[in-house]
């Protein structure tokens, strides 16, 4: 019996000890529990980084916002080429250029994705910083900065898509409703105005690449300048006021060298208002070398990065430059040579010549179309995820001057006054190095202003907005027929977004 008792005890002890171990806790080692984050100022700064770093993916990405602002314009085209490499991508660039916007188009989807990711990230970080127990001086400034960044992201989305969903509160998990462009405009305007006081006024290395007062003023200026076209309500005076706010800050002026703003070392440019900082070691980002150069340039710049021989300027756009205009050096035209003076060759062995004329949208020659060297090319970029160092300019002071001039002209029914002419001439004189090519009240028309904007802000992602505002978006140009209606002035809402939010309805015409 004793033996049996022993056995029973063994059995029971065993059963009890076994059944008690049911803990399924998860131990995190290489990631953090978000409940334990945002504890101090340093962690809040690190969190803020998530919101800002989304910009890097979209600002310079051809498959993103940059592509949707650049390719459908008259200043650039990505043709199919008969020989050598080219960017085919199943026709997405042709579709974009011809304004055949499809809701499953990759750059359009990316543009939506990254704008809203920035906004969502801002919402989340604002919420966490707000409720974090950490106490530090900069807290309200950080929140103001993030709200401005969020407003900028919504501004980009409104520019591209018109009728967008807006959410301003991370705690509100309801599906956001879709606002018309007019409603979105008011929300964004209010956000920018409300948070201006807490932003930095003086640009410095301490806030380089982040939201400052000048950025907020510039975005408001852009919104007011476009209010006529977007809302039907002109707000020219307000646009002038915002431009004046930037000018009156006193920290910005035109660089004497146009190309300074686009150099590898452009951090100290006094003209740049808002940039996306890039660095080779970021591994992604600004890849103009890949977009526009021909592979023969590999040894010239000691680059093993692939070159896709993709984007060219259209002939008409290039022809709009006067030969004395220093800005014409943005372009690579004519026979191309390496460092020792030997001509570079195409893949068929003929000399590589970049000609302004382009054979056809689907039948371009290997060297057709001038290429862009506005952004200084670095040396030694490797395939191992190295991209260009040049910080990418989003807004700069030259644009402010031209915007103020335009607003004045618009208020005046299309004719400039002397103030407007002087503003434009500041840009013009910097561009020519002398005042021989200045405008006068007689010669400065709205069309001329549009052309000057084109030459000054070439390939900076601003042309689309300008063409729409000046009423030229539906015109015909190289490779693109004229359009009978205006529905392409906003992009279709991407097909992968509509199903997930039933509050959204597709934009008209799509």
């Amino acid at each position: 019996m004793k033996k049996n008792n022993l056995k029973i005890c063994l059995f029971l002890a065993f059963a009890i000890s076994v059944a008690s171990c049911t803990k399924l806790n998860e131990d995190l080692y290489s990631t953090l529990d978000s409940q334990n984050f945002y504890k101090n100022e340093q962690e809040c700064i690190l969190a803020m980084g998530d919101s800002y770093s989304q910009l890097a993916y979209q600002g310079g990405n051809l498959w993103g916002i940059y592509g949707t602002q650049l390719i459908p314009t008259d200043e650039a085209v990505v043709p199919y080429r008969l020989t050598g490499p080219f960017l085919g991508n199943n026709g997405i660039w042709l579709d974009l250029h011809q304004h055949k916007f499809k809701s499953n188009n990759n750059p359009i989807q990316s543009s939506w994705q990254y704008s809203f990711k920035t906004a969502a990230s801002c919402n989340q970080v604002i919420y966490e910083i707000d409720k974090s127990p950490a106490k530090f001086n900069k807290k309200p400034n950080m929140i103001a900065e993030l709200k401005t960044l969020r407003a900028y992201a919504y501004y980009v989305a409104m520019d591209l898509f018109g009728n967008i969903p807006i959410s301003l509160d991370f705690a509100d998990t309801a599906l956001p409703k879709q606002y018309s462009r007019a409603e979105a405009f008011k929300i964004i305007e209010k956000d920018l105005q409300d948070n201006l006081p807490l932003l930095d006024a003086e640009p410095s290395p301490l806030n380089y690449g982040r939201c400052t007062k000048a950025l907020a003023f510039t975005v408001l200026a852009k919104m007011y300048l476009n209010a006529q076209v977007w809302l039907g309500t002109p707000m020219w005076q307000k646009a002038i006021d915002m431009c004046d706010s930037v000018i009156n800050l006193g920290y910005y002026h035109l660089e004497s060298n146009y190309f300074k703003n686009f150099m590898i070392a452009n951090e100290d440019s006094k003209e740049n208002i808002f940039v996306i900082p890039y660095d080779r070691k970021l591994g992604f980002g600004w890849e103009m070398h890949e977009y526009t150069l021909h592979p023969a340039f590999g040894p010239v710049y000691d680059m093993t990065a692939p070159m896709w021989n993709g984007i060219s300027a259209t002939e008409a756009f290039y022809d709009s430059y006067d030969s004395a205009d220093l800005r014409i050096n943005s372009w690579m035209e004519g026979p191309q040579y390496d460092q020792s003076g030997q001509p570079l060759l195409t893949t068929t062995g003929t000399p590589l010549i970049f000609t302004p004329s382009i054979g056809g949208l689907k039948t371009a020659g290997e060297g057709d179309g001038v290429r862009c060297k506005k952004w200084e090319f670095p040396h030694g970029l490797q395939t191992k995820n190295e991209s260009m160092d040049n910080d990418l300019v989003i807004f700069r002071y030259a644009d402010i001057l031209l915007m103020k001039a335009e607003a004045i002209m618009r208020l005046n029914g299309g004719t400039p006054d002397q103030t407007a002419v002087n503003l434009v001439n500041m840009v013009r004189e910097r561009a020519f190095g002398n005042s021989d090519h200045d405008y006068t009240i007689a010669t400065l028309t709205l069309d001329e202003l549009l052309n000057e904007r084109g030459r000054e802000l070439a390939w900076e992602g601003l042309r689309r907005q300008d063409l729409i505002r000046f009423g030229k978006w539906e015109n015909a140009w190289f490779g693109k027929p004229a359009e009978s209606d205006k529905h392409t002035e906003i992009y279709p809402i991407p097909s992968n977004v509509l199903p997930s939010n039933p509050n959204l309805s597709q934009n008209p015409g799509y």
Binding site: A19, L46, Y52, N90, M307, T348, G349
Partner: protein, 1004 residues
């Protein structure tokens, strides 16, 4: 919820049964029932009587060592060498005669003085042991769908991985080699169709109680005794959330009791490429250029003739050695094994060398009450890896008129390089200037102790561990094509270990004719991974390779990378099973597992997985005993629920991770910390409910045997990444359980001993399986997860497959090519008749095929003539389609102009001037039949029951297919439903080969 099984199959089964019962057949064999005699007074007083007799087999040959027992008592004896026995038995008692390999017989004593018995050979495999998880049973008692493959039925030849031993042998289990004959390649295993979209597809593999697929790399295939595959829900459900993809139980050989015996095996094999030329040879290339682009002859024809694939391949030798010793007594016995394998791949600088010693010891003590089995395995593997197989792709598409070397081009290391075209890399340089070495050590073991608390109750404690570590170094020299820097090194190390602790109880009782076996237990499983990696480049000196990684100058410039990671997960469960049978005629088995996994969300940590199955051994019924031509017939049916928890760790949590994005703040670059994903506290396992009905039959004394299964499985709570609006979410997708997928099909195996004489045996086996898959839904609008279709798997920049609700997964949907226009561009059918062809839209596309097969077929034949044995196995997969990526990318003139080689089939349609598009031309039917192996062996007769078998084998000698690409055995996972990053990755293949092998086994 039980799905209604297809009525057709039930009707079929019922008719079959009816026919069998009404057929009148002659009586064969021996009547077992004795004749009842009236009890006489004399017998009544002689209660214990001596009975003697002779036991023989059906040929009249006396059988020695037959166990003779008096039923219900401890009395027993055995027949002597002449087959005679003598025993005392009382009135009303029965004598039981049993002998391994023979049918047991029971004879009632009613006063006979002599009882002679003729034993019949046991119906093949009925008493075979079948592993069913947490125990074993016999084949005749199994009620779930379990397929058992014994060692002699394994695939023959040079087997890279033990899974290859059963490829094609288990109906419903589709095994594909993912990388041809790469010694470092693996297998993709799909059981009964596609059962998940985003979860893991691997079945649970347990080798002798040790969990983890890495054990397969350690295992000596010669040591495997049997492989049991738990296929349906009722059989696999005992393993809960790991069971949906099936459970493969591998049992190795047990020690032989007696004096120490030895086994030694050796195999040597050679391989040759088995692919056909899809691209032009140098001469063909020249002819084509001269004919179609005569003005480009100067630029395209470089003047040489190079067979690039030949330049990077070799004639490899593979060797395999296995040595085991086993012996011992009842109270302690052992089996020790040493295995060495040296596997050279056909591509240069790819290989794997494995050394695995292992030891198994079993001891019994305390009067047989305590039994302890312990196993230890250690393995050391050294591998040389191919560089993502990219060199092979580069070789195949390279211009054959280019030379391999150019001694004047020292910038590129003396390799011929075309600088005007990027992406075209010299494959010889890629092989020579790249090194990848991996060293793996694994150490695994398990202990099973069982203690008999009472005669009916056993306490079992099972503990196992599996720990492995690897160290990997990769180096590219400065001459590696388009490297762009002076050397690049990566070093990484990973450590993984898991631990399993399973105490349990086993109950076994016979009450009259009722047999009850029950089992219950607790299981604790923990797995932990740790890894470390470093990357540096720009080495001034090449000679270090990756062994001095700090020497690269990128480190000083802040451009080197390093990272480390650790993660873990736990699985805890309570499980139990009851198996009941009445006279081994009516069978019932029911089990349940209550399991929790750390991977699931806080709201769904635990789940219950029940199963029930029943069986009816019709041949045990009295009415059936007259139908002598049916030697065994069992009907069975079962339903079980299993789960799939094969997802990454921590997905349900709200986590902050460091991203690779940098943020410029106050003059310095900082790491960004961002939410890793949208948290999902409702995250749970994918659930499969499966109904299976089957028939196991044998006719004519099991000359013909087979099984038939019908199954219907429904998988719900399918995981997928759903687009969710941003904001309010931070991430654009949430990993959530939403969809429903179904598979149903039939499996059939039929085996016949067509000829069975003393000298000649011919057995033929046919296996058939078919499966139909359907995605029932993957949307739940109420919860905000809406998805109507998915366009996936890009080829040439556009999607190739459409996943649509209500359709099977894997449909290729393409624009339909109808001809060329005057400019040589492709013209497509305008389905929606709107005058426009939008090739990216579903409206102008149609279904042209499906990536999953309609049915699979296997046919094995075994011949034995005296000492010779010959067997061969054909394996066929039918009804599937594949994208021929080579044609999609290289069947056009543009690629020729870009400097590449192009496929010969471009001459079938030379007017085509288009560029890379994707349409119906490139989706090909890929049904195939392969002669997996043919082997011829000779068995020498040695004295003392020693055996020696010598054999030669040819593997993969023949492939019959209409598919024009490399090899139609493309793993389904290449069509992974997660959108492929780059369609061209699928062009990186490792060549398939024909193997010729010589080997021998000797037992002494």
């Amino acid at each position: 919820m039980i799905r209604k099984p297809n009525c057709r199959y039930i009707l079929f089964g019922a008719c079959l049964l009816f026919l069998m019962c009404t057929a009148d057949t002659a009586v064969f064999g021996h009547s077992i029932n004795g004749v009842k005699k009236k009890n006489s007074m004399k017998d009544y007083y002689n209660s214990q009587n001596q009975v003697t007799g002779l036991v023989t087999n059906e040929k009249g040959v006396p059988l020695a060592d037959v166990t003779v027992t008096v039923k219900g008592s401890a009395k027993g004896t055995a027949t002597d060498s002449k087959g005679n026995y003598s025993i005392e038995v009382g009135k009303g008692q029965s004598l039981v005669f049993s002998y391994v390999g023979y049918e047991e017989q029971e004879i009632k004593y009613t006063g006979q003085r002599v009882i002679n018995v003729q034993l019949n050979v046991s119906y093949k495999s009925l008493n075979d042991i079948v592993a069913i998880g947490y125990g074993t049973t016999t084949k005749k008692e199994v009620t779930g769908a379990v397929t058992t493959i014994k060692a002699n039925d394994f695939n023959k030849g040079a087997i890279l991985n033990p899974i290859g031993l059963i490829q094609g042998k288990v109906p419903g289990l589709a095994i594909t080699r993912t990388e041809g004959n790469n010694p470092n390649g693996g297998f993709q295993i799909l059981l009964r169709g596609l059962n998940t979209l985003a979860g893991g597809k691997q079945p649970l593999i347990i080798v002798d109680g040790i969990v983890g697929a890495n054990t397969l790399d350690m295992l000596d295939p010669n040591e495997i005794e049997s492989v049991d595959v738990l296929k349906d829900g009722s059989a696999a459900s005992i393993y809960g959330t790991r069971a949906t993809n099936g459970v493969i139980l591998i049992t190795t050989k047990r020690p032989k009791i007696g004096k120490v015996s030895y086994e030694f095996s050796n195999q040597l094999s050679r391989e040759v490429l088995s692919e056909h030329n899809r691209f032009f040879t140098a001469d063909e290339y020249r002819t084509v250029v001269n004919k179609y682009y005569p003005d480009l002859v100067q630029t395209l024809d470089k003047g040489y003739s190079t067979n690039w694939l030949k330049e990077i391949t070799r004639r490899p030798l593979r060797q395999d050695y296995s040595f085991s010793a086993s012996g011992g007594t009842e109270s302690i016995n052992f089996r020790a094994n040493l295995y060495y394998k040296d596997d050279e791949g056909i591509v240069k600088k790819t290989s794997a060398k494995t050394m695995t010693p292992s030891l198994f010891v079993s001891s019994t003590s305390l009067n047989g009450r305590l039994k302890i089995d312990a196993r230890l395995m250690y393995s050391f593997i050294k591998r040389e890896g191919a560089d993502n197989n990219n060199a092979i792709f580069q070789a195949v598409v390279r211009n054959p008129t280019e030379p391999v070397y150019d001694s004047t081009d020292m910038i590129h290391g003396g390799y011929y390089t075309e600088i005007t075209s990027s992406g075209q890399l010299n494959p010889v340089a890629m092989i020579n200037e790249h090194t990848n070495n991996i060293e793996e050590q694994a150490f695994a073991g398990d202990v099973m102790a069982s203690y008999k608390l009472w005669p009916t109750l056993k306490l079992n404690v099972h503990y196992s561990f599996n720990s492995n570590q690897n160290y990997e170094g990769t180096y590219y020299t400065r001459y590696y094509p388009e490297l762009g820097t002076n050397g690049d090194a990566i070093v990484s190390t990973a450590f993984n270990h898991n631990v399993l602790f399973e105490p349990g109880l086993e109950f076994n009782k016979m009450i009259g004719d009722h047999n009850i076996r029950a089992m219950a237990g607790y299981s604790y499983y923990e797995n932990q991974n740790e890894s470390l990696g470093a990357h540096n480049y720009d080495f001034a000196v090449e000679d270090f390779s990756y062994n001095n990684i700090g020497a690269g100058s990128a480190l000083g410039s802040g451009l080197a990378d390093m990272g480390s990671n650790k993660n873990s997960n736990k699985l805890i469960s309570f499980y139990g099973r009851v198996m009941y049978n009445y006279r081994e005629k009516y069978l019932l088995s029911t089990s349940a597992r209550y399991e929790g996994s750390s991977r699931f969300g806080a709201n769904n940590k635990w789940g219950l997985f029940p199963a029930v199955s029943v069986g009816w051994r019709v041949t045990e019924e009295n009415f059936a005993k007259n139908l002598k031509w049916i030697s065994s017939l069992k009907l069975r049916a079962g339903y079980g629920v299993t789960g799939n928890q094969d997802i990454d760790n921590y997905l349900s949590l709200s986590r902050i991770e460091t991203t690779n994005r940098l943020f410029y703040y106050n003059g310095e670059w900082l790491n960004t910390y961002a939410p890793a994903s949208n948290p999902n506290p409702d995250l749970k396992w994918e659930k499969k409910g499966e109904f299976d009905a089957g028939v196991d039959f044998g006719f004519f004394k099991n000359r013909i045997t087979g099984t038939f299964d019908y199954y219907s499985r429904k998988i719900s709570d399918l995981l997928w990444n759903y687009d969710v609006p941003v904001p309010p979410n931070v991430y654009p997708t949430t990993f959530a359980n939403v969809g429903i997928l179904s598979n149903h099909g039939i499996e059939l195996s039929l085996s016949a001993d067509i000829i069975k004489t003393k000298n000649l045996l011919w057995n033929s086996t046919i296996l058939y399986a078919q499966n139909k898959n359907k995605l029932i839904s993957f949307s739940d609008a109420v919860r905000g997860y809406k998805l109507d279709y998915l366009e996936v798997n890009p080829v040439n920049g556009t999607w190739s497959q459409l996943i649509l609700k209500g359709q099977p997964v894997g449909n290729f949907v393409t624009p339909i090519y109808i001809g060329l226009d005057s400019a040589g561009e492709a013209v497509y059918k305008d389905f929606n008749k709107d005058g426009m062809i939008d090739i990216g839209s579903q409206d102008d596309r149609a279904i042209v095929g499906n990536a999953y097969p309609k049915f699979t077929l296997g046919w094995t034949n075994e011949f034995r003539y005296k000492q010779f044995d010959l067997s061969f196995f054909f394996r066929g997969v039918f009804g599937q389609s594949l994208v021929n990526y080579e044609r999609a990318l290289y069947e056009n003139w543009k690629s020729l102009l870009n400097g590449r080689n192009i496929v010969k089939s471009v001459l079938d349609n030379p007017d085509y001037q288009g560029i890379n598009v994707f349409d119906s031309r490139y989706v090909e039917k890929a049904s195939y039949v392969k002669l997996e192996y043919i082997t011829l062996g000779y068995n020498f007769k040695l004295k003392n029951q020693n055996t020696l078998r010598v054999y030669i084998t040819g593997q993969n000698l023949l492939t019959i297919t209409n598919y024009k690409g490399v090899d139609p055995e493309e793993p389904i996972s290449n069509f992974d439903l997660r959108p492929a990053v780059n369609g061209a990755e699928n062009l990186n293949y490792y060549p398939y080969t024909r193997t010729f092998l010589f080997g021998f086994n000797i037992n002494f």
